[in-house]
């Protein structure tokens, strides 16, 4: 068990290498360079800049030296866009907000989604089911950017309850978190509901009833734990969604996280920043998937003890 997890963790490293290779290759495969978006620079200036940042060296050498910097010093290199700051600086500024947004959205999704699904299943074909299904439908049907816009319009513009941007006070956290969590809530609720209904038909539930166990105990001690096992399997993709979806939300709500730099860095060919962020996102997804697997093993004794 432990060896399996260790092996999985170590696999992340080659995966990250390949990710970095692909990203690097993509960036350099296409004509153009980091200085293209400015007004056209004189060739001499451009050459000097290239030499300064080592962009005149062969691509392979650039890649190796860049990777070397990360591995040895955890240094992602200088930013090409922001002359006085390194990539580490920029990411360091943005990462906390992004992580916070992601975690909050995840917590909301799980803490709302699972009970929603459970109540829907318990009140199957009655009003709890309808309400939960209605909420799920809204969550599926509304892309996070639409949800964000709608929330802004309703709660900020019309009702003036909550602000639309900034990240310092808790009330600024509410709308972005809900916008990001909308889709995950509905997915988790749907899966939980389906799983609970499935578990209801299992033989061991009948055994529990035959022992004279109270209905409440049957639900809480027998059903829920078994029903959550399949739900854990979708947490991986949900987390990946939160990672990628966060930067759209960050743009809409002007949150000072990493996301707002992403598209800019692609368009402006700020290789350093782009590579770093891609790697961090990729690592986050891979690592979170691993955490989910651990959780899965923990919850299901059949996997833990085999």
């Amino acid at each position: 068990m432990a060896t399996y997890l260790l092996r999985r963790f170590l696999w992340i490293i080659p995966v990250l290498f390949v990710v970095s290779l692909i990203t690097f290759a993509l960036m350099h495969a296409v004509p153009g360079g980091p200085w293209d978006n400015e007004k056209r620079l004189p060739q001499a200036t451009e050459d000097r800049l290239n030499a300064k940042y080592g962009l005149d060296k062969p691509v392979a050498v650039q890649y190796v030296s860049w990777v070397g910097g990360i591995v040895t010093r955890f240094d992602f290199g200088p930013s090409y866009r922001y002359v006085d700051r390194t990539v580490n600086d920029i990411i360091g500024d943005g990462l906390p907000a992004t992580i916070q947004l992601g975690l909050m959205a995840f917590a909301v999704a799980v803490l709302l989604g699972i009970p929603l699904g459970i109540f829907a299943a318990l009140g199957h074909n009655k009003w709890p089911d309808y309400i939960s299904t209605a909420i799920s439908i809204v969550g599926i049907a509304t892309p996070s950017f639409v949800l964000g816009i709608l929330l802004i319009v309703i709660f900020s513009v019309n009702l003036r309850w909550l602000p639309t941007n900034g990240w310092d006070e808790p009330k600024q956290w509410v709308l972005p978190t809900i916008a990001l969590a909308g889709f995950p809530i509905s997915q988790i609720a749907r899966y939980t509901r389906a799983s609970m209904l499935e578990v209801t038909r299992r033989d061991y539930i009948r055994t529990a009833h035959s022992k004279g166990v109270t209905n409440t105990s049957v639900v809480t001690r027998h059903m829920i734990r078994n029903a959550l096992i399949p739900v854990v399997t979708i947490l991986g993709p949900i987390l990946a969604f939160l990672v990628t979806g966060s930067f759209i939300i960050e743009r809409i709500f002007s949150i000072p996280g990493m996301g707002r730099f992403y598209i800019q860095s692609i368009a402006q060919r700020d290789y350093g920043l782009l590579m770093a962020m891609t790697l961090i996102y990729a690592f986050a997804v891979a690592f979170l998937n691993l955490v989910v697997d651990v959780l899965y093993a923990y919850i299901d004794p059949r996997i833990r003890y085999s």
Partner: protein
């Protein structure tokens, strides 16, 4: 005499003949109300996509500047001047643009899944059938693709190739297909691999091999038809993701380029006018919502209908 009567009455209490599994599944599907709603909406979506250019009262890029000026330089509201859903600030009819967006979204839905099948099925089949090293290499490959946050990869590809010929084709639509398809095939590949792995060991396959049926024929004629159910479900449920990705790309300006009217870019354009002319955001948002809901319901319905565990039950 006893046996004659026995035979006669035996017939009268025989069960009705069981239908084929596909017919049964279709029956289950059609009894599921949500699935039927989804199916109707899906058909509607495709019809509007195909007939779009004919149904549109105006060309999607045509600008009714007179109408806008008459409205004080603001977008024309719905119902005015022959514009069923109003116009945007440049006077382009929203309904016509929505139809163009429908065409884009439905094309994305189909083409991306075709790409997914073209890449995913062979890879999954190879991995599942030959096993061993092939399986390991291919699964490692899927691990890498899976680890790459898909939206990021799509954006990366889109922006990287935006200026190339490839990227300019069809206003960037071609690039979108390619990018989304490239990141989405993993699920199908894994599914196909799993199906083949489990079916490979069944007895009818052993029998086929024993009489010398070539591998390729076994895969094509036996394994794939039997494993088809979950694949159909996965493809259908993958469509909302593709539509969503395309809309998101268009929203941030990276996907299909103007003047084509992807629903996502309509939302992006419309959000500036949301205070007074909310129709510019609401109608595209509703269109997106309907598209997502319809395929999701249909996919859920297919999954329930094709679930082998439900065979023979209510």
């Amino acid at each position: 005499m006893a046996t004659n009567t026995a035979a006669a009455t035996s017939a009268s209490v025989r069960p009705r003949a069981a239908m084929g599994p596909w017919r049964e599944a279709l029956g289950r599907l059609l009894r599921n109300r949500l699935a039927v709603i989804g199916l109707i909406l899906v058909i509607l979506a495709f019809v509007t996509a195909i007939l779009g250019p004919i149904l549109a009262p105006f060309p999607y890029e045509a600008q009714d500047l007179k109408g806008v000026l008459a409205n004080g330089g603001r977008p024309v509201p719905p119902g005015v001047g022959g514009h069923l859903l109003g116009t945007d600030v440049l006077g382009r009819d929203l309904f016509s643009r929505l139809l163009d967006g429908a065409q884009i979204s439905m094309t994305v839905a189909i083409v991306v899944q075709v790409v997914v099948l073209l890449i995913g099925v062979p890879i999954g089949a190879l991995a599942g059938w030959f096993g061993g090293r092939w399986d390991t290499y291919l699964m490692r490959l899927t691990d890498v693709i899976y680890a790459f946050p898909d939206l990021l990869f799509i954006i990366l590809l889109s922006v990287a190739f935006r200026q190339t010929f490839f990227g300019q084709a069809l206003n960037g639509l071609f690039l979108v297909f390619f990018a989304i398809g490239l990141t989405s095939w993993v699920t199908v590949a894994r599914l196909v691999r799993g199906q083949i792995l489990s079916l490979r060991e069944t007895e009818f396959v052993e029998a086929a091999r024993a009489i010398g049926v070539p591998d390729r024929r076994i895969i094509l004629r036996h394994l794939i038809p039997n494993g088809l159910g979950p694949i159909i479900v996965a493809v259908t449920l993958g469509i909302p993701g593709a539509i969503l990705s395309e809309a998101t790309l268009a929203y941030i300006g990276v996907g299909v380029q103007p003047p084509r009217a992807s629903w996502g870019s309509l939302v992006a354009e419309g959000q500036k006018y949301i205070r007074g002319d909310s129709h510019l955001v609401i109608f595209p948002a509703v269109a997106i919502a309907l598209a997502l809901i319809s395929f999701t319901f249909l996919g859920d319905g297919l999954r329930d209908a094709l679930d082998p565990k439900l065979k023979g039950k209510q």
